[in-house]
Point group: D3
Chain length 253, copies 6
């Protein structure tokens, strides 16, 4: 059996999130932006409105959300090769940017967004585990700010966001269930699951991998329960950041 989920780890309980901070409008030149810090993991998320749509949506009146992801070469311990120099994005990079895009699209009404797309960029400046979930969480805030801009300018009349979306990783480390794995935990864990949920507590994405040691269906259920708790807390922080963004803009310029 898996142990209870209260086992201690470095400075926080097994079911505790890392300190979370979301700074809206971090890059004011973008249509929407946020810096998200989850412990030592820091990601700059931006949303750019593009009044063109991909070819396959031409003349449908529907919009689209797409995402790109990158890491600064020195964002992790031991410099990574710059992908622009390598000449291509790695499989991992592409996998992550695909899940960011799908997660955001799942909560958007593309009819209401209208014939335009929003391009999300998530660039990791410091990496300590959980960069894909932090990217989704920060990207949602950047997306909301860009959509607010569309609403404020009258380009769209109804909010296309159906409900909030947030993501967190959970995993099994030394047979204990852990919430919000940092890099050392992630590297050493037996199983690692990224969960993306909506505000209505439904699953949008679940990506679990157990290269180390397969896990039972019961463990999966327990991990999802653990994730739900973290996702609720993250959504509160997202809302605070979105609410604060009006004030930010007033003060900043």
């Amino acid at each position: 059996m898996t142990k209870t989920i209260t086992t201690e780890r470095q400075n926080r309980a097994a079911n505790e999130l890392r300190p979370l901070q979301i700074i809206p409008h971090f890059l004011p030149q973008a249509d929407g932006s946020a810096l998200i810090c989850c412990g030592h993991t820091k990601v700059i998320c931006t949303a750019t409105i593009d009044e063109n749509v991909p070819l396959f949506l031409k003349d449908t009146g529907r919009g689209w959300i797409t995402a790109e992801y990158g890491m600064l070469p020195a964002s992790a311990n031991g410099r990574m090769r710059r992908e622009a120099v390598a000449g291509k994005q790695s499989g991992r990079t592409q996998e992550i940017q695909r899940i960011i895009g799908r997660s955001l699209r799942a909560v958007i009404d593309m009819e209401k967004l209208g014939s335009r797309q929003i391009l999300i960029d998530c660039d990791v400046i410091q990496a300590d585990g959980g960069t894909r979930t932090a990217s989704i969480n920060g990207a949602y805030v950047a997306l909301c700010l860009a959509i607010n801009k569309l609403l404020n300018s009258g380009k769209i009349s109804e909010n296309p966001i159906r409900e909030a979306v947030a993501a967190i990783s959970v995993g099994i480390v030394n047979n204990t269930l852990f919430l919000d794995l940092d890099y050392p935990e992630d590297s050493g864990c037996e199983a690692d699951i990224n969960i993306v949920m909506s505000a209505s507590q439904k699953l949008i994405e679940i990506q679990g991998t157990a290269e180390g040691s397969p896990f039972s269906v019961q463990q999966l259920t327990d991990l999802i329960t653990l994730a739900q708790r973290g996702i609720g807390q993250i959504m509160q922080e997202q809302q605070k950041a979105i609410a604060a963004s009006t004030t930010y803009l007033k003060n900043k310029f």
Copy 2:
């Protein structure tokens, strides 16, 4: 609520697999190979033994399994662009070959495999949904045949395979839970989950996506139960193919 899982679809019950056939030693020049046919989906899987290991395993005495995936341009309706002409593998291709590799590595004891790697190739010649799960299922057979070759030649003395691995997709179509989605079902479904399990009924990979419509934790649990049933049947077919392979070799050459 989700309906019961017995709802009818084209020619088979909602909880029924497509006709499954695995032909071992399909490409006799490879160290291990199988053609797997799941309904209209057909994948050629091969395993090639390479006595070198990746750099990061040098001098560790441990081995590795890695996988590549491709589709013939005309394998799907409407010809796809050949990736060798495009000059790169798509994000989808890379995502799939990464999950194939991780799934197989999860059931292999790398110490027993010794300082060598096995390269898996999964090439789809006809695609009708479920190519990544068919690839895992066929690749496991090809891998077993290659390992048998290592055992027979005395290069390794103990079987490094801990237990069998198989995969299947499940999904929600019109609010009904379906096993083993074909392409029309996959395109139209609200949620789509690929599940990789071990013979001991533990989860190795779970990749669920609900771009269409988020699903509840209860639905997820029901879908996993459905998947377990299918995976059990697939493992029987894998075993038959592996058992038949000795005879095949005798007759063929």
Copy 3:
């Protein structure tokens, strides 16, 4: 002088083709397809109708045939690097797909084909020498099936095929003239010539190379005579496969 062409080699006479089998409609989702097996060499050939033409033919009313070629990584002894991973097609690959395209175009009346192109894909699943000639032979069958589809659907009213085309390799091994070289013969031969001919016994392509040992004009003439014999036999098999294809379709679906 070169010896007579009846010298024995493994299981067949010097002037004998390898066992030849052509299975039409091998990939029924394609507009035309065939699996061709020449001894151990096996190639999947497909033809896809594309109602667009290349830019240089825009508004001319004329059509086009183009071809692509690939090999499964494990198709040959000793796995080859996947070209999609390498990021480009090799010089050899490009040379082969160019000759396939030219050979087919030589027998097609582009006016009668009308403003559309047919894309040929030849993917080698098992390679034992002669993959380029097998590709041409199988591609011709796939092309005929696609054209039959155009004729049956009324999209074109006249058959654009002027005459049949087939190809074979001939070479000099140990000073003996050989028909239809397999891989060991091809690697060890002094000179290697690929010949593409029309049903009217005219030359469409001739590609001869003598990196090992230059050959005389007399030898060339003898080799062409040898090739003509093989090409006649191949054309009979092509016709059988095309004739059989109607029955195939009736039975298969």
Copy 4:
């Protein structure tokens, strides 16, 4: 004649720098790092120590400094294409990373650095003109911190830095000489010169371009005088940041 250099522009005199802030140890996982903000232009600079040297320096006992440069896609108004997606670095990017590398190498004694290289990364998170000069200025600070780390750890015994280096742009806008051009000034200027100088007031790099309107030698001399003034002020800020870095480290961890 060119006007005197005191002509007013938005919020600052023609000979005045934009507000300049350098935050050392911005990315503590790197061996050296700094965030530099020149007005709205913000660049993250890192220095990574690599104990290997490029091939051409093997067995010479000498070290090397090399630099890479990138921009976040949303760093400028109107999102730029991500270079990792484009598959290559633009000519402009390569030009900038070459000048950063040369500028830093000009002030380093490669014998004293010893057989290792330091990799500089400059990633622009917000761009408002002058990103190449800001990169050089921030990279010098990051480089000093990395070298301090080498000195503190005893890996090198003598400081390889001969003297400080800093850079600034000057230009002619509406016939007036301007220091430290922001993006609107840079786009509209007649001539634009980037000047890199050493603490001893010598020129290390000068890159002037007058696509708009050629300039006289007298104007060039006046612009260099103007640049010298700005470079002196920048070097003071660099020194403050380097001095502050010890305290930073104490407080931060």
Copy 5:
């Protein structure tokens, strides 16, 4: 202090150009062309008229000049890798072709050129230092010949060339100022400056680099004076070649 500029070097004074020869219409199939030989450095320069303009100039009525640069693999001592094989242009190549383009654009009235672009190609067949300045000098001649063709054909009515442009390198070798560095001088010099000037003696581009040893502002001024002298002589040779080009055409075809 720097020594006087008359110090001797191999076969010529420090302030002397290498023998300069410009052969107009070297490649008569191009709209304009010249072979330029500066000592052992030889560059083929061509100008091709393209009646399309880049997207950003569409419907503006204005034209454009753009340049590409290459080196034959065997043009320098020790064969260089062919960039078409490497799959990309080096940073140095891109830097050079950008400066050629900017230098020529600086002397052209784009309104008078009209809605067309001229593509400049500079291909080095023998390299002995100064290839970028030789390219600019030869490209100017090729450009003039192409523009003459436009004028002669009546496609444009006014000459868009505002004034001549030429370029030369100067540098400090052993503390002496040198004009027109050849490769051994360039490799060994302390500082190296490329200067592009107009016929009115104004600066168009200045690119100075002192990776070896920073130089003073006074030295820079002296070097520019030295360059002006060389540029005057080059412009005479350019004019001779342009004047001779009519005769060439008469005799050649």
Copy 6:
């Protein structure tokens, strides 16, 4: 029947070569070089000695010859895209450089060449048909000069050249057999054959293509006879150039 081969074309008989000129040591920095002019077609050929061999020849004591081919963008009417900008060599380019390499290797004794390779570069500066055969003819001269250098320096003691090699194109234009097609003839011809022969009148390569109109075996034989005549004349010019090369070197430096 095909007409006799004496039919007139522009300025020369159907069986006449274009004016042929070979200038040895055209690029004296290369180990061997020649400029070859066949009518308006001009190719710079160089040979570079590399004391390393490809991996597959390591420790065999045998050498290798390899070739690369390129065209200046403005070498043909209507500027071609620069392959270094396109990021890859076209299929045509690769096909040509492969035939150049094979043709030269066919006449070299790799044991006598010893453990080194010779890299051939053929760069077309003006293209008017027949660039691949001109490349082979000029490359042979460059190769001989490089080998003479090896012999003169004592690096090899025996000449590895078995016999001379030369190439020419022949074709059928308006049912007449033509020698040495220029570009207009090549574009309009019914069939086009490139023939590479040794001094002993044996075939090394034959590449015939009849996309326009298939040709008979008799026509092929006649075309080869025609080619032999041309090749004999080319070999005389090659010998003159090689003989002249000693004098060239004496006078030139």
